[in-house]
Amino acid sequence: MSEELVIEEKRVFMTGNEVVAWAALAAGADIMYGYPITPQNEVMHYWSRLAPRYGKNFLQTEDELSAGFATAGGVMAGRKAFTATAGSGSVLMQEPMAMVEMMRLPTVTVVQQRGGPSTATVIYSQQEVALTTMGGNGEGMRVVYSTAGHQDLYDYTIKAFNSAWKYRFPAFVLGDGYQAKMREPLTIYEPEKRGITLLEPEPYVGREGKPGQDRPPAQYRNTYNLEEELYEKLMSDIRDFEKISAEIAEYESMHTEGAELVIIAHGIVFRAVGEAVSNLREQGLRVGGFRPVTLRPLPAAQIKDLVAGVKKILVVESAYGQMARLLKETACGAPCEIHTMFKPGVGIAAEEVEEKAKEILHSQ
C-alpha cells in the first residue's frame, strides 16, 4: 500500500537534486525515466527511494535516448513523466526532445549543467544553454527556466510541469552542478495550499473505447510528406509559441532604473551579480542587475526596454557567450555598449564581477 503524499510547509536544508525529487512529487509526477550522469544522479536516487512509497514509478533506461523517448511514451499514456540529465547526456536528450517538440508533448527535463564540451568536468558550467534552448533539428519551441538556487529549483520544477501541460511544449529546468550538489535552506510546500492549481495530464493514446468504432484512432506522427504540409504544421506551432511567449517569460531585476551600468546574468551566476550590485550600490555607483529567468522564451520586451535606457551592460556567464548571443539577438540595434565576462565552465564570485564593473565604469 502506498502512502498519501503530504508535504507540510516547512524550512528544509537539502541538496538541489533532492529538492528536484521533492518538487516532482509535489507537482504530481507519476514516473521518472533516467540514466546515470553526474551531477544529476541524486535526482534519480531520491526519486527511486521516494517513488514507491507514494505509488509512483521509476525506470532506469539503457541510455538518455531511451530515457527521453520513454518519457515521451509515459506522457502519451497520460502520466506526468519526467527525466533529468546533464552534459553529454543532454546531447543525447536532444533527439527525443526534438520529437517531443514536434508532437507537442508536455515533458519536463531537469538539466544539471556540467563542464563541456565532451566529458570535460562533472562539476559545473552554464554551457548547456544553447543546447537546452535551441537543441534538436528544430526551432527551439521549448520553455526553459534557469534557476538560481534551491528555492527556485523547487518552485520552477513545479511550474515546469504546469507550463508543459498547459502549453504542450517541452519544459526544462536548467540548473547546474553547484545547485545539484550543494545544500541550501528553502521552503517546501504543497502547491495547492499556495493557490497553485496542478494541471491534470490527459492520455494521448489508450483512451476508453474501441478505436475506429467508438472513436477515431489516436494516431501521432512526426513525419510529413510535403514541404507545404510541414510548413503549415510548424507555422501553427510557431504562432502558438509566439503568442504565449510574453505570458511565459520571467525575469528579475534590481536597481535598473537610472543605472549607468546593468549587469546581466542568469542562473546561479546572478547570485554573484546580485551581491556585486549591492556592494557597488553601497559604494555609490549606479549599477543595476538583470536576470532572465526564462532563457526560452526570453523576456524580450524587458530586455529591449533595458538596453534602450542604459549606457552600458555587462554580460556575465560561466560559458563563452551562450546567453550573450541570445541577448544580442533580442537587443539588436540598441545603442548601449556591451561588455562581457565569460568564464566557460568556471564559477564566478561577486568580487570578480565588482572589479570588472568598476573597470568598465572608470573607462570613459
Binding site: D30, F69, G73, G206, Y220
Partner: protein, 253 residues
C-alpha cells in the same frame, strides 16, 4: 466484377490500398498482425508504435492508437507507455536497421529487463526507405548501395542473428520466434503467441519476420520468392526459439 479484398477488422479501410511498394513484405506482416489482434480481440487495448524507415508508412495503417517514433526508438517509446500504463498492450514495429543497428541497444535493454512489450522486426536484409544500403542482416555477397561489390563478411561481418541474440539474453518468460511472409499462417501464429505472452504478463516477446523488398532487391516475383525461401532461409531459420515453460530450442536439438 471486382472482389473486395479481405482485410483484418483492426485495419483502417478508408486509407487502403496502403502506401508500401508493390511486392513489399510490410503489408503481409501487418495483415498477419491485424489477424492476430482480431483473433485475440485486443483492439481496444493495443498501442501500435512504428519506426523510421518504411515501417513509418504504417502510422495510420490500423484502427489502433498509434505512435510513430524515431529510428530505432520505438522500443523505448513503447516501454515508456507500458511502464506508465501496464494494462495497455504495446507493439513496437520496425525494420532490421531500426531493430538491429541504430536501436539495438534499446532492443537489448528491453529484452534484458524483460519488458512486457512485443517487438516485431521486419528483416528484408537492407535499409529500404533510404535506398537499399547494407544492414546487419545483409547476406554475404549481397549487393547493396553501400556494398556495391557484394557484402564482404571479412570487412562487414556476417548476417546478424537478432532473434537468437534476444533469445540468449532474455529471461524466462520471454517469447522469441522467427517467421516469414512466405509462411503466413505460421507467422500469424507466432505474432499471436507473442501478443498472448504480453497479455499473460510473462515477459518480453519478440518476432522477427523475414520480409521482401523487390524494389531494392531488383527482383521479379519469382526472384523475390527465391531470395526469401532459398537465400535468406540459409541464414535465418524459421521457428520458435524461446517459449515460456519450454526448453530453449538449440541448433543440435
Amino acid at each position: 466484377m471486382q472482389i473486395a479484398p479481405v482485410m483484418p477488422k483492426s485495419w483502417r479501410v478508408d486509407n487502403k490500398p496502403h502506401k508500401f511498394c508493390p511486392g513489399c513484405g510490410h503489408g503481409l506482416i501487418l495483415k498477419c498482425l491485424g489477424k492476430a489482434i482480431d483473433e485475440l480481440e485486443i483492439q481496444s487495448r493495443v498501442i501500435y508504435g512504428c519506426d523510421i524507415g518504411c515501417s513509418l508508412l504504417s502510422w495510420d495503417f490500423f484502427n489502433l492508437d498509434t505512435v510513430q517514433a524515431h529510428h530505432g526508438r520505438t522500443t523505448p517509446v513503447m516501454t515508456g507507455i507500458k511502464r506508465a500504463r501496464p494494462e495497455l498492450l504495446c507493439i513496437a514495429y520496425m525494420g532490421d536497421g531500426g531493430g538491429y543497428s541504430i536501436g539495438v541497444q534499446h532492443l537489448v535493454g528491453a529484452a534484458m529487463r524483460n519488458e512486457k512489450i512485443t517487438v516485431i522486426v521486419a528483416n528484408n536484409t537492407q535499409y529500404a526507405m533510404t535506398g537499399g544500403q547494407l544492414a546487419p542482416t545483409t547476406l554475404p555477397g549481397q549487393k547493396t548501395e553501400t556494398s556495391p561489390y557484394g557484402r564482404d563478411p571479412g570487412a562487414t561481418g556476417m548476417p546478424f542473428q537478432g532473434a537468437e541474440m534476444i533469445s540468449a539474453i532474455a529471461a524466462d518468460g520471454a517469447y522469441v520466434a522467427r517467421g516469414s511472409i512466405s509462411h503466413l499462417a505460421q507467422l500469424t501464429g507466432f505474432l499471436k503467441k507473442a501478443l498472448k505472452n504480453q497479455i499473460d504478463g510473462h515477459g518480453f516477446s519478440f518476432v522477427e519476420a523475414l520480409s521482401a523488398c523487390p524494389t531494392n532487391w531488383r527482383t521479379d516475383a519469382a526472384g523475390t520468392w527465391e531470395f526469401i525461401e532459398k537465400d535468406m532461409a540459409g541464414y535465418f531459420e524459421r521457428g520458435e526459439i524461446k517459449v515460456p515453460g519450454q526448453k530453449e530450442a538449440t541448433a543440435d536439438a
